[in-house]
């Protein structure tokens, strides 16, 4: 458990000279679950990648506590901030335990000798993601939901206080989406792990996040507790979407019910 905040200060990001995000400030509060939502191409993934130093900053800086993330040795950053990007590849034939073991990389020497400590951490990561029974299976044999759990186990094996995830629920059916978000909540509650993720599904973000960041066109439209943030007006401004916001009968969090052209008033 860490009480250091990951912070973006005047951050600008872009691709080949095209600015996607211009001078953005954001705080990822420690020990909380932050969800970043917004329409396609609003820059939410780019922002997350910038926070994790997977995308170069054109201006501004990202800090972790007092430290400038871009000046930190990559290895040290990897011991403090874990990141599960969208573009992860499981090599053919790699087994679950082996893949999760690779999460130990930032803690190991050049040749990556496994210590008994490493084994214990890997086992704990498998246990806590419910993938221990799959340890000997090949990753490509697994279902989408299982595979995503395995990737999360790898990030857990990295033992970072902060975990960033780029659309971890993509390609999962609704049950597996819930499972995964439950798992992340459990990690957050029991270990105090800071979780920040880009999510597509507004209502799941609203239910699971302590802190909701709504983006549009590279800017933050609103941020804060979902209760406060997720209003009809914000949904309209961010997504250009007519919607009613009602109360989720299960969690009590705001539930966005879109209108569309053929239904409702």
């Amino acid at each position: 458990m860490s009480d250091l905040a990951l912070r973006a200060e005047g951050v600008s990001l872009g691709y080949d000279g095209r600015r996607v995000i211009d001078g953005l400030d954001l705080v990822i509060p420690p020990g909380r679950i932050t969800a970043i939502v917004g329409p396609n191409a609003c820059g939410k993934s780019t922002l997350l990648r910038g926070l994790a130093r997977l995308h170069p900053l054109e201006a501004g800086r990202v800090t972790l506590g007092e430290d400038d993330v871009s000046r930190m040795p990559r290895r040290e950053l990897a011991r403090r901030v874990g990141m599960l990007p969208q573009s992860s590849i499981a090599p053919d034939g790699v087994r679950v335990a082996e893949l999760v073991g690779r999460g130990r990389y930032p803690h190991q020497g050049w040749f990556g000798r496994h210590s008994s400590d490493d084994d214990a951490v890997v086992l704990a990561a498998l246990e806590s993601t419910g993938t221990a029974d799959l340890a000997d299976r090949q990753v490509q044999e697994l279902s989408g939901g299982q595979r995503q759990r395995v990737w999360i186990a790898m990030v857990l094996a990295q033992q970072t206080d902060i975990v960033l995830l780029d659309e971890p629920t993509t390609f999962l059916d609704v049950r597996h989406q819930l499972d995964l978000l439950d798992l992340l909540t459990e990690l957050n509650r029991t270990r105090g792990t800071t979780v920040a993720m880009v999510l597509h599904e507004l209502n799941l973000a609203s239910r699971y996040a302590d802190n909701l960041v709504v983006m549009s066109a590279g800017q933050i439209v609103a941020e804060g507790a979902p209760d406060v943030v997720l209003t009809q007006d914000v949904v309209l401004r961010a997504f250009g979407l007519e919607a009613q916001v009602v109360r989720d009968p299960v969690s009590g969090s705001p539930l966005v019910v879109p209108v569309g052209r053929f239904h409702g008033a």
Binding site: E76, A78, I89
Partner: protein, 349 residues
């Protein structure tokens, strides 16, 4: 669910230690078998050839050579150097192929993909044509420099992006190949010399050439070993490798240097040999799985097993004459690749 490992020794066996041990045993066995094969092939390479020499005479030649003894001369001046060339070039090709496939995550990548063979060929042809150099000891350096120059060009343009790297490599090869043809069409002497170099052969290189070039292979091999674990992370994608704390650019650059050293030397020593660099990593992967530390170690042994093995077979198949190692390696390599491709675990790059 979030419990420590101690508390959950319930009904299900957690990661099966017996299976893990079994796999580790299989890997060790594969490595030891490869080593044994290599030793046998080294002995065969010294003992077998067009000229029948008794094993005892081979031993005498190595331990107490008699000047003027024709058998001893053949062993020391022909078989010993070509064994050395086969070892160095084979290991270099196996390692270079592994590195190239690992760095580009491209299962059909081999050092030739980076334009190395084309660069070496052009330089050798120019040495024949412009400078009239015909001795291996002279033109190996041109081959080496040509390979290095081509690879440097390809790496500097295609830096970082596997697909771009492959495209640039193919382009450079496509650009250089007609230039070679152009020279060869104009100069029949160069053409004759080139034919024998380009087919890929271990013969005609003296111990002095090996002595001059082996340090490049040694440095390349050490680098390959040191990079092996980094390739494991790179296999998960650039982003994951970075997120795990790897400086991906550094890995690619170091791998590029190692590939130039290894494949450049191999091409200089034995000519542009196809399929060894491509087939060996696949065979190794098939035998020991996806961990590049094991793949690299095994590839360093399977490379010379394949190349030197091809050379020995080439000495024996035709009566009174030899088939070049490059030809035999291609004939062996193709079925190996097909077998791997038909198997369960293709190209776990």
């Amino acid at each position: 669910m979030l419990t420590s490992p101690r508390e959950t020794s319930g009904e299900v066996t957690r990661p099966r230690p017996d299976l893990v041990r079994q796999r580790a045993r299989r890997r060790t066995l594969a490595l030891l078998t490869a080593l044994a094969c290599l030793l046998v092939i080294i002995l065969a390479s010294l003992a077998l050839g067009v000229r029948d020499i008794l094993p005892t005479e081979v031993w005498n030649a190595l331990t107490a050579p008699v000047t003027g003894n024709q058998d001893h001369r053949v062993v020391l001046e022909q078989r010993l150097p070509r064994t050395g060339v086969g070892l160095a070039a084979g290991a270099a090709l196996g390692l270079a192929g592994t590195l190239v496939q690992g760095v580009t995550r491209n299962p059909i990548a081999d050092p030739g993909l980076l334009g190395l063979n084309a660069g070496a060929s052009l330089a050798v042809v120019c040495a024949f044509w412009l400078l009239g150099i015909t001795a291996p000891a002279g033109y190996v350096w041109f081959a080496f420099l040509g390979a290095a120059a081509a690879a440097a060009l390809v790496f500097s343009i295609g830096a970082g992006q596997p697909v771009r790297l492959a495209l640039v490599g193919a382009t450079v090869t496509a650009l250089i190949t007609p230039l070679i043809t152009l020279v060869l069409l104009r100069d029949p002497t160069a053409f004759n010399l080139y034919r024998f170099w380009a087919v890929g052969s271990l013969t005609g290189r003296g111990l002095d050439t090996i002595a001059a070039l082996w340090p490049f292979v040694a440095v390349g091999a050490v680098l390959a070993g040191a990079l092996a674990h980094r390739l494991n992370m790179l296999a998960l994608g650039d982003d994951v490798a970075r997120a795990l704390g790897q400086r991906v650019g550094t890995t690619r650059t170091l791998a590029g240097v190692a590939v130039v050293l290894l494949a450049g030397t191999a091409t200089a020593l034995a000519g542009p040999i196809a399929l060894v660099g491509l087939a060996v990593p696949h065979a190794a992967r098939r035998l020991v799985g996806t961990d590049y530390r094991w793949i690299t170690a095994l590839a360093a042994m399977l490379g010379p097993v394949m190349l030197l093995g091809a050379d020995v077979i080439g000495r024996l198949v035709l009566p009174h004459t030899e088939l070049e190692a490059g030809v035999v390696a291609a004939l062996i390599g193709a079925p190996v690749l097909v077998a791997v491709a038909r198997g369960r675990t293709v190209a776990g790059v």
